[in-house]
Protein backbone atom coordinates (compact mmCIF):
# COMPACT_ATOMS: atom_id res chain seq x y z
CA UNK A 1 0.00 0.00 0.00
CA UNK A 2 2.62 2.45 1.11
CA UNK A 3 4.88 1.61 -1.77
CA UNK A 4 2.11 2.13 -4.28
CA UNK A 5 1.28 5.43 -2.59
CA UNK A 6 4.92 6.41 -2.84
CA UNK A 7 4.90 5.47 -6.48
CA UNK A 8 1.83 7.55 -7.07
CA UNK A 9 3.46 10.51 -5.34
CA UNK A 10 6.61 10.04 -7.30
CA UNK A 11 4.60 9.88 -10.50
CA UNK A 12 2.65 12.97 -9.56
CA UNK A 13 5.95 14.72 -8.85
CA UNK A 14 7.34 13.77 -12.22
CA UNK A 15 4.12 14.87 -13.88
CA UNK A 16 4.26 18.23 -12.10
CA UNK A 17 7.83 18.76 -13.21
CA UNK A 18 6.96 17.81 -16.73
CA UNK A 19 4.16 20.38 -16.69
CA UNK A 20 6.39 23.07 -15.23
CA UNK A 21 8.93 22.49 -17.97
CA UNK A 22 6.56 21.82 -20.82
CA UNK A 23 3.87 24.46 -20.42
CA UNK A 24 5.97 27.58 -20.92
CA UNK A 25 7.80 25.79 -23.72
CA UNK A 26 4.53 24.90 -25.36
CA UNK A 27 2.91 28.30 -25.09
CA UNK A 28 6.01 30.14 -26.21
CA UNK A 29 7.04 27.36 -28.54
CA UNK A 30 3.91 27.06 -30.64
CA UNK A 31 5.02 29.87 -32.84
CA UNK A 32 8.28 28.01 -33.37
CA UNK A 33 6.74 24.57 -33.69
CA UNK A 34 3.86 25.48 -35.94
CA UNK A 35 4.45 29.07 -37.09
CA UNK A 36 2.12 29.03 -40.09
CA UNK A 37 -0.78 27.49 -38.16
CA UNK A 38 -0.33 30.19 -35.56
CA UNK A 39 -0.37 32.96 -38.12
CA UNK A 40 -3.46 31.49 -39.81
CA UNK A 41 -5.15 31.38 -36.41
CA UNK A 42 -4.28 35.00 -35.87
CA UNK A 43 -5.37 36.18 -39.27
CA UNK A 44 -7.28 34.03 -41.75
CA UNK A 45 -6.80 35.47 -45.28
CA UNK A 46 -9.98 37.30 -46.27
CA UNK A 47 -10.18 35.74 -49.72
CA UNK A 48 -9.89 32.21 -48.36
CA UNK A 49 -13.14 30.34 -47.73
CA UNK A 50 -13.92 28.79 -44.38
CA UNK A 51 -14.64 25.27 -45.53
CA UNK A 52 -13.86 23.22 -48.63
CA UNK A 53 -13.89 19.52 -49.28
CA UNK A 54 -13.28 17.90 -52.64
CA UNK A 55 -15.48 14.85 -52.08
CA UNK A 56 -15.02 13.54 -55.59
CA UNK A 57 -11.28 13.00 -55.26
CA UNK A 58 -10.88 9.22 -55.58
CA UNK A 59 -9.00 7.10 -53.09
CA UNK A 60 -6.44 4.40 -53.70
CA UNK A 61 -5.34 2.78 -50.46
CA UNK A 62 -1.59 2.31 -50.43
CA UNK A 63 0.01 -1.10 -50.53
CA UNK A 64 3.18 -1.86 -48.58
CA UNK A 65 5.35 1.24 -48.70
CA UNK A 66 3.87 2.66 -51.82
CA UNK A 67 2.32 5.90 -50.65
CA UNK A 68 4.04 7.67 -53.59
CA UNK A 69 2.21 5.75 -56.34
CA UNK A 70 -1.05 5.80 -54.32
CA UNK A 71 -0.96 9.59 -53.74
CA UNK A 72 -0.02 10.28 -57.34
CA UNK A 73 -2.79 8.05 -58.67
CA UNK A 74 -5.24 9.90 -56.43
CA UNK A 75 -4.19 13.33 -57.72
CA UNK A 76 -3.77 12.23 -61.34
CA UNK A 77 -7.12 10.44 -61.56
CA UNK A 78 -8.77 13.60 -60.34
CA UNK A 79 -6.81 15.41 -63.07
CA UNK A 80 -8.54 13.26 -65.67
CA UNK A 81 -5.94 10.55 -66.31
CA UNK A 82 -7.11 7.02 -65.71
CA UNK A 83 -4.23 5.48 -63.84
CA UNK A 84 -3.85 3.07 -60.94
CA UNK A 85 -1.13 3.01 -58.28
CA UNK A 86 0.24 -0.21 -59.79
CA UNK A 87 0.79 1.56 -63.12
CA UNK A 88 2.92 4.16 -61.35
CA UNK A 89 5.13 1.81 -59.35
CA UNK A 90 7.57 1.35 -62.23
CA UNK A 91 7.61 5.12 -62.74
CA UNK A 92 8.28 6.48 -59.25
CA UNK A 93 9.06 3.66 -56.83
CA UNK A 94 12.64 2.86 -55.82
CA UNK A 95 12.81 -0.77 -54.70
CA UNK A 96 16.00 -0.43 -52.63
CA UNK A 97 14.84 2.70 -50.88
CA UNK A 98 11.35 1.33 -50.43
CA UNK A 99 9.91 4.71 -51.34
CA UNK A 100 9.55 7.46 -53.92
CA UNK A 101 11.66 10.60 -54.38
CA UNK A 102 10.12 14.07 -54.67
CA UNK A 103 11.72 14.72 -58.05
CA UNK A 104 10.19 11.58 -59.50
CA UNK A 105 6.78 12.48 -58.10
CA UNK A 106 7.07 15.72 -60.07
CA UNK A 107 8.44 14.03 -63.19
CA UNK A 108 6.11 11.05 -63.65
CA UNK A 109 2.78 12.85 -64.30
CA UNK A 110 4.37 14.69 -67.26
CA UNK A 111 4.43 11.39 -69.13
CA UNK A 112 0.63 11.42 -68.96
CA UNK A 113 0.36 14.99 -70.25
CA UNK A 114 -0.22 16.53 -66.82
CA UNK A 115 1.73 19.57 -65.68
CA UNK A 116 3.22 19.42 -62.20
CA UNK A 117 3.79 22.37 -59.93
CA UNK A 118 5.71 22.46 -56.69
CA UNK A 119 3.93 24.83 -54.34
CA UNK A 120 5.61 27.60 -52.43
CA UNK A 121 6.35 26.50 -48.83
CA UNK A 122 3.24 28.18 -47.47
CA UNK A 123 0.19 26.70 -45.73
CA UNK A 124 -1.87 29.42 -47.35
CA UNK A 125 -0.81 28.29 -50.84
CA UNK A 126 -1.85 24.74 -50.06
CA UNK A 127 -5.27 25.92 -48.87
CA UNK A 128 -5.68 28.14 -51.93
CA UNK A 129 -5.05 25.24 -54.29
CA UNK A 130 -7.55 23.06 -52.46
CA UNK A 131 -10.09 25.88 -52.52
CA UNK A 132 -9.49 26.21 -56.27
CA UNK A 133 -10.43 22.55 -56.67
CA UNK A 134 -7.02 20.91 -56.86
CA UNK A 135 -5.96 18.16 -54.44
CA UNK A 136 -2.46 18.77 -53.08
CA UNK A 137 0.16 16.09 -52.43
CA UNK A 138 2.18 16.94 -49.31
CA UNK A 139 5.26 15.23 -47.95
CA UNK A 140 5.17 14.60 -44.23
CA UNK A 141 7.63 13.20 -41.74
CA UNK A 142 6.11 10.94 -39.12
CA UNK A 143 9.45 9.92 -37.68
CA UNK A 144 10.98 10.78 -34.35
CA UNK A 145 14.37 12.39 -34.36
CA UNK A 146 16.80 11.15 -35.61
CA UNK A 147 14.85 8.66 -37.72
CA UNK A 148 12.68 10.27 -40.41
CA UNK A 149 9.58 8.52 -41.67
CA UNK A 150 8.62 10.14 -44.94
CA UNK A 151 5.08 9.89 -46.20
CA UNK A 152 3.01 11.34 -49.04
CA UNK A 153 -0.63 12.19 -48.44
CA UNK A 154 -3.21 14.13 -50.46
CA UNK A 155 -4.95 17.15 -48.92
CA UNK A 156 -8.54 17.34 -50.21
CA UNK A 157 -10.24 19.72 -47.80
CA UNK A 158 -10.07 22.05 -44.82
CA UNK A 159 -12.36 23.56 -42.24
CA UNK A 160 -11.37 26.78 -40.54
CA UNK A 161 -13.89 26.42 -37.70
CA UNK A 162 -12.68 23.03 -36.49
CA UNK A 163 -9.08 23.81 -37.49
CA UNK A 164 -8.72 20.61 -39.45
CA UNK A 165 -7.62 19.46 -42.87
CA UNK A 166 -8.96 16.38 -44.65
CA UNK A 167 -6.50 13.95 -46.24
CA UNK A 168 -6.48 10.85 -48.38
CA UNK A 169 -3.67 9.07 -46.62
CA UNK A 170 -2.30 5.57 -46.44
CA UNK A 171 -5.22 3.23 -45.82
CA UNK A 172 -7.55 6.02 -44.73
CA UNK A 173 -9.99 7.41 -47.24
CA UNK A 174 -10.88 10.37 -45.07
CA UNK A 175 -8.38 11.34 -42.43
CA UNK A 176 -9.11 14.47 -40.46
CA UNK A 177 -6.08 16.14 -38.97
CA UNK A 178 -5.65 19.41 -37.06
CA UNK A 179 -3.73 22.10 -38.96
CA UNK A 180 -1.09 21.93 -36.24
CA UNK A 181 -0.42 18.23 -36.77
CA UNK A 182 -0.20 18.61 -40.53
CA UNK A 183 2.17 21.52 -40.16
CA UNK A 184 4.33 19.79 -37.56
CA UNK A 185 4.83 16.76 -39.82
CA UNK A 186 4.93 18.73 -43.07
CA UNK A 187 7.46 21.28 -41.86
CA UNK A 188 10.22 18.66 -41.88
CA UNK A 189 10.04 18.36 -45.67
CA UNK A 190 10.50 22.15 -45.87
CA UNK A 191 6.76 22.31 -46.60
CA UNK A 192 7.11 20.29 -49.79
CA UNK A 193 3.84 20.06 -51.71
CA UNK A 194 2.82 19.60 -55.32
CA UNK A 195 -0.15 19.48 -57.66
CA UNK A 196 -0.58 17.68 -60.99
CA UNK A 197 -3.14 19.35 -63.24
CA UNK A 198 -4.45 18.83 -66.77
CA UNK A 199 -2.68 21.09 -69.30
CA UNK A 200 -5.65 23.40 -69.80
CA UNK A 201 -5.51 24.47 -66.15
CA UNK A 202 -3.07 26.74 -64.35
CA UNK A 203 -2.77 26.36 -60.55
CA UNK A 204 -4.00 29.42 -58.71
CA UNK A 205 -0.66 29.90 -56.92
CA UNK A 206 1.52 29.49 -60.02
CA UNK A 207 3.82 32.29 -61.20
CA UNK A 208 4.24 32.98 -64.91
CA UNK A 209 7.94 32.17 -65.10
CA UNK A 210 7.71 29.11 -62.87
CA UNK A 211 4.67 27.77 -64.67
CA UNK A 212 6.29 28.15 -68.10
CA UNK A 213 9.20 26.06 -66.86
CA UNK A 214 6.73 23.45 -65.66
CA UNK A 215 5.00 23.44 -69.05
CA UNK A 216 8.29 23.15 -70.96
CA UNK A 217 9.23 20.24 -68.69
CA UNK A 218 5.99 18.50 -69.64
CA UNK A 219 6.40 19.29 -73.33
CA UNK A 220 9.71 17.39 -73.38
CA UNK A 221 7.85 14.11 -72.86
CA UNK A 222 4.21 14.76 -73.67
CA UNK A 223 2.53 15.07 -77.03
CA UNK A 224 2.05 18.36 -78.86
CA UNK A 225 -1.65 18.38 -78.13
CA UNK A 226 -1.02 18.68 -74.38
CA UNK A 227 1.60 21.36 -75.02
CA UNK A 228 -0.80 23.36 -77.18
CA UNK A 229 -3.46 23.27 -74.45
CA UNK A 230 -0.90 24.28 -71.85
CA UNK A 231 0.42 27.30 -73.77
CA UNK A 232 -3.12 28.39 -74.60
CA UNK A 233 -3.92 28.22 -70.88
CA UNK A 234 -0.82 30.30 -70.12
CA UNK A 235 -2.06 32.98 -72.53
CA UNK A 236 -5.54 32.95 -70.99
CA UNK A 237 -4.06 33.43 -67.53
CA UNK A 238 -1.33 35.90 -68.55
CA UNK A 239 -2.44 37.43 -71.87
CA UNK A 240 0.80 39.44 -72.13
CA UNK A 241 3.06 36.41 -71.71
CA UNK A 242 5.78 36.58 -74.35
CA UNK A 243 7.11 33.09 -73.73
CA UNK A 244 3.59 31.67 -73.63
CA UNK A 245 3.12 33.01 -77.17
CA UNK A 246 6.53 31.72 -78.26
CA UNK A 247 5.63 28.29 -76.88
CA UNK A 248 2.29 28.21 -78.67
CA UNK A 249 3.85 29.40 -81.93
CA UNK A 250 6.55 26.73 -81.69
CA UNK A 251 3.89 24.02 -81.32
CA UNK A 252 2.05 25.41 -84.35
CA UNK A 253 5.28 25.57 -86.32
CA UNK A 254 6.27 22.00 -85.38
CA UNK A 255 2.90 20.82 -86.64
CA UNK A 256 3.37 22.68 -89.91
CA UNK A 257 0.75 25.34 -89.18
CA UNK A 258 2.94 28.18 -90.37
CA UNK A 259 0.20 30.76 -90.69
CA UNK A 260 -1.08 30.08 -87.19
CA UNK A 261 2.47 30.41 -85.82
CA UNK A 262 2.90 33.66 -87.72
CA UNK A 263 -0.34 35.11 -86.32
CA UNK A 264 0.58 34.25 -82.73
CA UNK A 265 4.04 35.78 -83.08
CA UNK A 266 2.73 38.95 -84.73
CA UNK A 267 0.33 39.41 -81.81
CA UNK A 268 3.17 38.90 -79.35
CA UNK A 269 5.34 41.44 -81.16
CA UNK A 270 2.67 44.10 -80.77
CA UNK A 271 3.22 43.83 -77.00
CA UNK A 272 6.94 42.98 -77.10
CA UNK A 273 8.36 44.69 -80.20
CA UNK A 274 11.96 44.15 -79.09
CA UNK A 275 11.82 40.39 -78.60
CA UNK A 276 14.68 38.83 -80.55
CA UNK A 277 13.18 35.36 -80.12
CA UNK A 278 9.77 36.38 -81.47
CA UNK A 279 11.36 38.26 -84.42
CA UNK A 280 13.69 35.36 -85.21
CA UNK A 281 10.94 32.77 -85.10
CA UNK A 282 8.57 34.95 -87.08
CA UNK A 283 11.28 35.49 -89.72
CA UNK A 284 11.73 31.73 -90.01
CA UNK A 285 7.99 31.07 -90.24
CA UNK A 286 7.67 33.76 -92.90
CA UNK A 287 10.68 32.45 -94.84
CA UNK A 288 9.14 28.99 -94.81
CA UNK A 289 6.15 30.49 -96.59
CA UNK A 290 8.60 31.73 -99.26
CA UNK A 291 8.22 35.40 -98.40
CA UNK A 292 11.98 35.74 -98.17
CA UNK A 293 12.40 39.50 -98.48
CA UNK A 294 9.89 40.08 -95.72
CA UNK A 295 11.71 37.48 -93.62
CA UNK A 296 15.06 39.18 -94.23
CA UNK A 297 13.72 42.51 -93.00
CA UNK A 298 12.46 40.85 -89.82
CA UNK A 299 15.68 38.99 -89.12
CA UNK A 300 17.76 42.13 -89.75
CA UNK A 301 15.70 43.78 -87.05
CA UNK A 302 16.35 40.84 -84.70
CA UNK A 303 20.12 40.84 -85.30
CA UNK A 304 20.30 44.60 -84.75
CA UNK A 305 18.76 44.21 -81.29
CA UNK A 306 21.66 42.04 -80.06
CA UNK A 307 21.39 40.24 -76.72
CA UNK A 308 21.82 36.58 -75.75
CA UNK A 309 19.97 35.29 -78.83
CA UNK A 310 21.85 37.35 -81.39
CA UNK A 311 24.05 34.47 -82.54
CA UNK A 312 20.96 32.32 -83.16
CA UNK A 313 19.45 35.23 -85.09
CA UNK A 314 22.62 35.58 -87.16
CA UNK A 315 22.45 31.91 -88.07
CA UNK A 316 18.84 32.30 -89.14
CA UNK A 317 19.81 35.33 -91.24
CA UNK A 318 22.57 33.36 -92.94
CA UNK A 319 20.06 30.64 -93.84
CA UNK A 320 17.55 33.13 -95.21
CA UNK A 321 20.23 34.88 -97.27
CA UNK A 322 21.34 31.53 -98.67
CA UNK A 323 17.76 30.82 -99.63
CA UNK A 324 17.44 34.17 -101.40
CA UNK A 325 20.75 33.65 -103.26
CA UNK A 326 19.83 30.15 -104.42
CA UNK A 327 16.06 29.78 -104.77
CA UNK A 328 14.96 26.26 -105.61
Amino acid sequence: MTSSLKNARARAGVFRWALIVALPLASAGCALLIPQTESLRNGWPSDLGARVELDSVPFYPQKDFQCGPASLATAMSFGGVSVLPDDLVSKVYLPSRGGSLQVEMLAAPRRYGLVTWQLGPRFEDLLREVQDGTPVIAMQDYGLWPVPYWHYAVVVGFDQASGKVVLRSGEKRRLEMPFAVLEYTWKESAYWAMVAVPPDRVPVTATETGWLQAVVAMERVSGREAARKAYSAVLRRWPDSLNGAIGLANVDYAEGHLQAAEAVLRDALKLHPKSVVALNNLAQAVADQNRNDEALALIDEAVALGGPFSSAAEQTRAQIRKKIAAPH
Binding site: V92, R97, L101, M139, Y142, A180, A217, N250, P308, Q319
Partner: protein
Protein backbone atom coordinates in the same frame (compact mmCIF):
# COMPACT_ATOMS: atom_id res chain seq x y z
CA UNK B 1 29.48 -10.93 -61.25
CA UNK B 2 26.86 -8.27 -60.82
CA UNK B 3 29.28 -5.68 -62.09
CA UNK B 4 29.72 -7.21 -65.56
CA UNK B 5 26.00 -7.26 -66.25
CA UNK B 6 25.63 -3.89 -64.56
CA UNK B 7 28.33 -2.28 -66.66
CA UNK B 8 26.77 -3.66 -69.81
CA UNK B 9 23.45 -2.17 -68.82
CA UNK B 10 25.10 1.14 -68.09
CA UNK B 11 26.76 1.20 -71.51
CA UNK B 12 23.47 0.43 -73.14
CA UNK B 13 21.90 3.27 -71.18
CA UNK B 14 24.61 5.74 -72.08
CA UNK B 15 24.21 4.91 -75.76
CA UNK B 16 20.44 5.21 -75.70
CA UNK B 17 20.42 8.43 -73.68
CA UNK B 18 22.84 10.01 -76.13
CA UNK B 19 20.59 8.93 -78.96
CA UNK B 20 17.64 10.57 -77.22
CA UNK B 21 19.42 13.82 -76.51
CA UNK B 22 20.26 14.63 -80.10
CA UNK B 23 16.77 14.88 -81.42
CA UNK B 24 16.81 17.24 -84.37
CA UNK B 25 15.89 20.78 -83.36
CA UNK B 26 13.76 22.87 -85.68
CA UNK B 27 16.24 24.71 -87.87
CA UNK B 28 16.00 28.46 -87.56
CA UNK B 29 13.54 28.41 -84.67
CA UNK B 30 14.56 29.26 -81.11
CA UNK B 31 12.97 26.63 -78.86
CA UNK B 32 10.69 27.52 -75.97
CA UNK B 33 13.07 25.84 -73.53
CA UNK B 34 15.88 28.11 -74.73
CA UNK B 35 13.65 31.18 -74.69
CA UNK B 36 12.77 30.75 -71.01
CA UNK B 37 16.31 30.16 -69.76
CA UNK B 38 18.55 33.13 -69.34
CA UNK B 39 21.78 31.18 -68.95
CA UNK B 40 24.52 32.19 -71.29
CA UNK B 41 26.42 28.87 -71.27
CA UNK B 42 27.10 27.47 -74.67
CA UNK B 43 24.20 25.20 -75.41
CA UNK B 44 26.27 22.32 -76.79
CA UNK B 45 28.41 22.22 -73.69
CA UNK B 46 25.33 22.38 -71.48
CA UNK B 47 23.70 19.63 -73.52
CA UNK B 48 26.73 17.37 -73.14
CA UNK B 49 26.95 17.93 -69.38
CA UNK B 50 23.20 17.37 -69.16
CA UNK B 51 23.44 14.06 -70.99
CA UNK B 52 26.30 12.89 -68.78
CA UNK B 53 24.35 13.71 -65.60
CA UNK B 54 21.32 11.93 -67.02
CA UNK B 55 23.40 8.83 -67.64
CA UNK B 56 24.74 9.11 -64.12
CA UNK B 57 21.27 9.36 -62.58
CA UNK B 58 19.95 6.52 -64.76
CA UNK B 59 22.83 4.36 -63.50
CA UNK B 60 21.92 5.20 -59.91
CA UNK B 61 18.30 4.25 -60.56
CA UNK B 62 19.52 0.90 -61.90
CA UNK B 63 21.54 0.41 -58.75
CA UNK B 64 18.36 1.04 -56.74
CA UNK B 65 16.66 -1.85 -58.50
CA UNK B 66 14.83 -0.05 -61.29
CA UNK B 67 14.91 -1.90 -64.61
CA UNK B 68 16.87 -0.33 -67.48
CA UNK B 69 14.05 0.65 -69.81
CA UNK B 70 12.07 2.20 -66.93
CA UNK B 71 15.16 4.05 -65.69
CA UNK B 72 15.72 5.58 -69.11
CA UNK B 73 12.14 6.84 -69.35
CA UNK B 74 12.17 8.11 -65.77
CA UNK B 75 15.26 10.19 -66.38
CA UNK B 76 13.84 11.44 -69.67
CA UNK B 77 10.86 12.97 -67.87
CA UNK B 78 13.07 15.06 -65.56
CA UNK B 79 14.31 18.57 -66.25
CA UNK B 80 18.04 19.33 -66.25
CA UNK B 81 17.72 21.00 -62.84
CA UNK B 82 15.95 17.94 -61.44
CA UNK B 83 18.62 15.64 -62.84
CA UNK B 84 21.29 17.82 -61.23
CA UNK B 85 19.40 17.72 -57.91
CA UNK B 86 19.32 13.90 -57.96
CA UNK B 87 22.80 13.23 -59.24
CA UNK B 88 24.81 11.49 -56.54
CA UNK B 89 22.08 11.91 -53.92
CA UNK B 90 19.57 9.16 -54.67
CA UNK B 91 20.74 7.27 -51.58
CA UNK B 92 20.19 10.13 -49.20
CA UNK B 93 17.23 12.18 -50.44
CA UNK B 94 13.93 11.66 -48.61
CA UNK B 95 11.81 8.85 -50.06
CA UNK B 96 8.16 8.83 -49.03
CA UNK B 97 7.49 5.33 -47.81
CA UNK B 98 5.26 5.23 -44.78
CA UNK B 99 3.54 2.00 -43.81
CA UNK B 100 1.04 1.22 -41.08
CA UNK B 101 3.66 1.08 -38.30
CA UNK B 102 4.40 4.74 -38.77
CA UNK B 103 0.94 5.56 -37.52
CA UNK B 104 1.79 4.63 -33.94
CA UNK B 105 4.43 7.33 -33.96
CA UNK B 106 2.09 9.67 -35.77
CA UNK B 107 -0.61 9.28 -33.17
CA UNK B 108 1.81 10.08 -30.34
CA UNK B 109 2.99 13.25 -32.07
CA UNK B 110 -0.55 14.16 -33.00
CA UNK B 111 -1.75 13.86 -29.41
CA UNK B 112 1.13 15.87 -28.02
CA UNK B 113 0.78 18.70 -30.52
CA UNK B 114 -2.99 18.74 -30.34
CA UNK B 115 -2.99 18.69 -26.53
CA UNK B 116 -0.91 21.82 -26.30
CA UNK B 117 -2.53 23.55 -29.21
CA UNK B 118 -6.12 23.27 -28.00
Amino acid sequence: MKSVAFRMLCRFLIASLFAMSFQPAMAGMIGTGQAITTTSTSTERAALIGTLSRTDVAGQLLAQGVDPEAAKLRVASMTDQEVAALSGKIDSLPAGANSGTGWAVAIVIALVVWYYWK
